[in-house]
């Protein structure tokens, strides 16, 4: 249990534990960008390791794209530094940085064929044509577009365009690849498939990837580490599991998937555990936390829908936190069902259950009186 809370507190990026004084591959130091007094990016610090697939997640206007553009050299920082492989590249123009970007709308050159689009980066390096041809062929084969080389972008499907953009960004063997919403323009099915291809490709090539996205699912499935961004600042940095299971505050908890948040009042407290009343003081719960909390504090208790069990009878285990309510709404998705239960205080609680048994009659139906229960360590204590 204790190991778990330590994880929730892991704020510092995991620089290789054996020798932590080794410099990270990418170091962003107090980076800021102001537009007419508006701080789009506000004093960002970040270290990224070589070969990592890192995601920056945030809503629109949170500054994630500005941060990415500063890394690419397309935007000049107001202050701060960017170090790549120990070198200060803050002042380098975009065309000199060993960093390439895959743009959100792909930004394929409409007047050039697939081949010429992909070759463009190499041509600017004055590489012999025979070598360019070879490398273009190789990378187009890698993204399975070998037969499309003579086509122009307007004759390609969304998925094909995405792969051309990826090939074009990878052909110069960049030290760092930036991906701006790489999957946003694809339909759902293609997105899932492309996700895995992207991860596979990243592992094969060993290139460091930074993905910017507003889609938490995309970030979670792609990245090994995620930074959640809000109003120009990082709110939390961690692995997908850390961020999902141990969100630092309401914003992160809410941003990542569905969650139920109860307002609670702390009535007792020791080193790692608090006791609090919730649901209009009718019920009490115990929860683990490493945050400094005093008796009388108002906190949020967050529980993920899939951590809650739903039953018609009161569970016998007294260690469980329980609540009572009426089934307000119910949705059957085949593999799982979602119940919306109205508790006695009127709060709607969302519960998600796996449909493990094949049965036509649901265990719980509309307007049934039910008990909700979850384990103590499923409760997340949120201060803000």
């Amino acid at each position: 249990m204790d190991a778990n809370h330590k994880m929730s507190n892991t704020r510092e990026p995991q620089v290789s534990d054996s020798n932590s004084n080794v410099q990270s591959f990418i170091q962003i130091k107090a980076l800021s960008k102001e537009f007419n007094g508006f701080k789009a990016v506000d004093q960002i610090n970040l270290d990224i390791n070589k070969g990592e697939l890192f995601a920056i997640l945030g809503g629109s206007g949170c500054g994630k794209s500005t941060l990415l553009r500063m890394l690419a050299g397309l935007e000049t920082p107001s202050s701060g530094k960017i170090l790549l492989d120990g070198e200060d590249i803050t002042e380098w123009p975009a065309y000199e940085r060993p960093i390439n970007m895959m743009f959100q709308s792909y930004a394929l050159f409409p007047h050039m064929t697939v081949e010429k689009n992909v070759a463009y980066g190499l041509q600017k390096e004055k590489i012999p044509q025979s070598e360019i041809d070879q490398r273009v062929k190789n990378i187009l084969d890698l993204v399975q577009l070998g037969t499309f080389s003579k086509r122009k972008p307007d004759r390609l499907s969304g998925g094909e365009k995405q792969r051309v953009a990826l090939a074009r960004a990878l052909i110069k063997n960049p030290k760092l690849l930036l991906l701006d919403e790489p999957l946003a323009a694809l339909d759902k099915k293609l997105r899932e498939q492309t996700q895995f291809e992207l991860i596979k490709l990243q592992e094969e090539l060993g290139v460091t990837f930074i993905v910017v996205t507003h889609d938490q699912e995309e970030a979670m499935t792609l990245a090994s580490r995620i930074a959640v961004m809000k109003a120009g600042k990082f709110v939390q940095i961690g692995s997908p599991t850390e961020i999902y299971e141990y969100p630092k505050n309401r914003f992160v908890a809410d941003f990542f998937g569905a969650i139920n948040i109860f307002d609670a009042l702390v009535i007792d407290q020791d080193d790692t555990q608090i006791t609090a009343t919730f649901d209009q003081s009718e019920l009490t719960l115990k929860a683990y936390t490493d945050k400094t909390i005093n008796i009388g504090d108002k906190v949020g208790i967050a529980v993920r829908p899939e951590k809650i069990s739903i039953s018609k009878d009161l569970p016998e285990d007294s260690n469980l936190t329980t609540s009572k309510g009426i089934v307000w709404d119910l949705a059957y998705y085949g593999n799982h069902s979602i119940y919306r239960v109205k508790t006695e205080s009127g709060q709607i609680v969302q519960v998600s259950t796996q449909n493990q048994k094949r049965s036509s009659d649901h265990l719980v139906e509309w307007n049934d009186e039910v008990y909700l229960s979850w384990e103590q360590n499923s409760s997340i204590v949120l201060l803000d």
Binding site: L74, F103, G121
Partner: protein, 307 residues
């Protein structure tokens, strides 16, 4: 049953309207372009006489076909023999070409700047481009005469400052003709270019820079090729009217700035040789239409290649 009938009738009505909408522009072109041109073309094969109308009827029963055919080509053969016409055509092409290049060099950065401006500023700038059209074209050319003449504004100011001792001859020179044409036709270059550049995806610039393109390379590799349709449209809109321009060389140009428009005017109104003038006009049209047809065929071909 009755309902399907009315549906059917309505569909028929829609189709009819669609046809009418398509046919109308064609009708307009046939009536006001093709028919007049056919008349001009017909006149170009006859001989001038002092009469009303001042040309012979095209078909003379008394001649054999061969004689008639040779006789009717007289005007065109005459155009080939007399240097005057060749010189006028070539001068017109040269003036139109240089003016088009000047308009492009001036208009491109202006169009680009307008396209990149904030919407409110953009509207003001576009307004400034269009505003001169609200005054008479002739009046604006006369204004240039006032500015350029030996005792005009420029010379007066220069003399007063002491940059020059005696006035520079600007009016009635080739320089004045170029200035007049570029000034007049610049908006025709800027507007189609603006329409094109306004839709330009700036991400393309970022992408090219990101892949190693330096600013000037990005312009040559990306901006210019992508805006090529705008460049061509603007150039045609300047080149074609500049080619047949009559007023500007007549008012601002000297004796040596003879262009085909002036020659055409002289043939019609001074010499009253309508058939020869018609031949001149027919050749002018050929010179203008031929490159356009070739260009369009080329466009169609490249469009086919991509598909």
């Amino acid at each position: 049953m009755a309902e399907s009938m009315t549906n059917h009738q309505q569909a028929f009505g829609d189709l009819l309207w669609r046809r009418i909408v398509i046919v109308l522009p064609y009708l307009w072109l046939i009536l006001f372009f093709l028919v007049p041109f056919a008349i001009v073309f017909k006149i170009s094969f006859s001989d001038p006489i002092v009469a009303q109308p001042p040309f012979t009827p095209l078909f003379d029963q008394s001649q054999s076909f061969l004689n008639w055919f040779q006789g009717s080509l007289n005007n065109y053969l005459f155009l080939l023999e007399d240097n005057l016409y060749w010189v006028s055509y070539l001068r017109s092409i040269k003036v139109a070409f240089i003016s088009t290049i000047c308009c492009l060099l001036l208009g491109y950065p202006m169009a680009y700047y307008i396209a990149q401006s904030a919407p409110t500023k953009r509207n003001v700038l576009l307004m400034l481009i269009i505003l001169p059209f609200w005054t008479s074209f002739l009046l604006r050319v006369y204004a240039w005469m006032g500015i350029l003449s030996t005792n005009g504004i420029i010379n007066s100011v220069f003399l007063w400052i002491g940059v020059i001792d005696e006035p520079i001859q600007m009016l009635y020179t080739n320089f004045a003709v170029y200035l007049g044409i570029v000034y007049t036709y610049l908006p025709f270059m800027i507007l189609p270019l603006y329409a094109n550049l306004e839709r330009l995806d700036l991400n393309l610039h970022d992408a090219a820079a990101d892949l190693g393109g330096k600013p000037l390379q990005v312009f040559w590799d990306i901006t210019l090729p992508v805006s090529l349709p705008g460049v061509i449209a603007g150039s045609l809109l300047v080149f074609i009217p500049a080619m047949g321009e009559f007023v500007i060389p007549a008012l601002l140009g000297g004796l040596d700035s003879l262009m085909i428009g002036r020659t055409l005017y002289d043939e019609f109104f001074v010499n009253r040789d309508w058939p020869l003038a018609s031949a001149v006009a027919s050749i002018l049209l050929l010179i203008l239409v031929l490159p356009m047809v070739l260009f369009q065929r080329n466009q169609a071909k490249s469009a086919e290649e991509t598909s």
